[in-house]
């Protein structure tokens, strides 16, 4: 994963994680594994964890503790209504940004 990709992903990781959770509830390890599968190989699991703590504090996700055969209970995150609303805003911002960048690439109108 190139330096530029890493930098760009930083600004969008929150939206990416919420979009994953819009599909189905997941715990941190699963989210990181999915990101790595998709080629985002530089993502630190701790960074995803920090992000999940943040979206939980902001009330965008609901958390259920599921007992685990080994170690502490797993926290399973699911997107709630406020999170879905926030994700819509993220997609709007993303559309704006990607359209402007595409225009620039096509010759700076």
């Amino acid at each position: 994963m190139g330096k530029q990709t890493t930098e760009m992903l930083k600004g969008t990781l929150e939206g990416v994680v919420l979009a994953i959770l819009a599909g189905r509830p997941a715990y941190g390890y699963e989210i990181t594994a999915w990101l790595r599968d998709q080629g985002f190989s530089d993502i630190a699991e701790g960074t995803v964890y920090a992000l999940l703590v943040r979206v939980e504090k902001r009330g965008l996700v609901d958390v259920t503790k599921v007992p685990s055969e080994k170690g502490p209970p797993r926290k399973v995150y699911s997107l709630n209504d406020q999170g879905r609303e926030y994700l819509e805003e993220f997609w709007t911002a993303w559309r704006f940004l990607s359209e402007r960048l595409e225009q620039l690439r096509e010759g700076g109108r």
Partner: protein, 120 residues
Amino acid sequence: MIMIVSKLIGDKRRYRQYKARIRRLPEDYRTAVEAIERYLMHFVPADNESAISEFEDLAELFERAASDGTPIRELVGDEPTEFVEEFARNYTKGGYAPDKERQRLLRGIERAIEAERTGR
């Protein structure tokens, strides 16, 4: 050191529990947590609750990783300072600076803008 830290974070009992959790981690994970903990001391927490929950969340992250067998490199990434700063952001308002200094900065800028607007 523990005395100073306990005073800072306000909740000795929860801090001792955190320390006990860290001691139960496999040695390599414990070494990593202690390095992170040392670095976190340079960030000023938003309040007492933030200060203690920061440590508790750190312990939870490493307990989970130890159970899953996540390698330390995958946990902290290629740039551990970036991960720790991202992590710390959840518990502070102004990063390295105490909140009152952040407020002082904002007031100073406000004064300057006000003076600019009114032509002194």
